[in-house]
Symmetry: C2
Subunit: 198 residues, 2 copies
């Protein structure tokens, strides 16, 4: 952030009174511009035979890899509405939303990733604009080595294990940044580093 | 938002390609400025005798009313770290963080409110800069008519009921905007309407 979104003047990093952090503060109108983490919300759509719906990504990061339908929560919606909308947008799939199942903190990219259990309502799904393919997978057919994001792999592993055990429970965890030579990767392969950061 | 925070030029509301919403887009550098919901995170600090720590607010909205320690999650932290930090800032109180207990969606103000169970570690607490008083309350002494926010009252009601029943469980709910004559209130009593919106 270089300019004030309220008046267009330059901003500077300054610690406002009664604050303990540097904020972007406008040099003219003194508006304080806070920056806060975002929520990425999605679903684990399960068909009646137990198979799970995955999408193959048509966009960066992680173009070509598989994921559960998920995306940034929008203003004016609830977390479960975001999960329903993302599933519709990415997989043209209708779900009945269930319980919140996973929450992963990704503080190194200022994100909180949440996944809801969901019942897939029909088989009339197809790739949305951000997906190359949409497919139902049994556990043994999940493309484990081609999953896009750690919260997705970790959630699916736990989901199948807990489903077998008949004990599915909400779980929260914190993930650290993957250890990578960031400088090199940022220059050489920007799409890969963006992807591995999640 | 009127100006681009990247280059200072005016922004306009426009629907970007492959998007289905109006976004603030820079008329010169074409940066898309997304706006997303924020997380408000706090704790339910319980002392070893069962009393709960509340703070009386020294700031708007709801100056003078009681609340659980909570505030906006910051970039670079996890949800539980946010709860620990807010409890320290508002009540100078140290906690051992427990399970996530409540999540309230407040889509009409673009917020998700989360409260964690917590064990208060010592009695050396005192009002932080944003609090007038900090006090431990037994259930029957909670100032129910002077609580600042609906997620706080609803959480405390459920907390005491479930604690008695010996069955404390994570719960998520969506709240609608309180029915108020917004136009009138915005003009007449801005602090009240800001408060009741939460």
């Amino acid at each position: 952030m270089k300019f004030c979104s309220a008046c267009g003047a330059p901003v500077e990093l300054r610690q406002p009174p009664d604050d303990n952090r540097l904020r972007h503060v406008c040099t003219i109108c003194t508006t304080i511009h806070y920056q806060n983490p975002n929520m990425v919300i999605g679903s684990i759509p399960e068909w009646e035979d137990g198979r799970i719906l995955l999408c193959r990504r048509a966009i960066e990061p992680r173009h070509g890899l598989w994921t559960l339908p998920a995306g940034f929560m929008e203003n004016g919606e609830t977390t479960s509405a975001a999960a329903i909308r993302e599933t519709l947008e990415e997989a043209n799939a209708r779900i009945a939303i269930g319980e919140l199942y996973s929450m992963y903190n990704l503080p190194y990219i200022n994100q909180v990733f949440m996944l809801f259990r969901a019942r897939l309502l029909d088989l009339d799904f197809s790739p949305g604009a951000e997906s190359l393919e949409v497919e139902l997978f049994e556990e043994q057919d999940i493309p484990w080595d081609e999953l896009a994001f750690r919260p997705v792999s970790l959630t699916l592993q736990r989901y199948f294990a807990e489903r077998k055990a008949g004990n599915m429970q909400f779980h929260m965890d914190d993930l650290e940044a993957p250890a990578r030579p960031a400088k090199l990767s940022e220059t050489a392969i920007p799409s890969i580093i963006a992807a591995t950061n999640q």
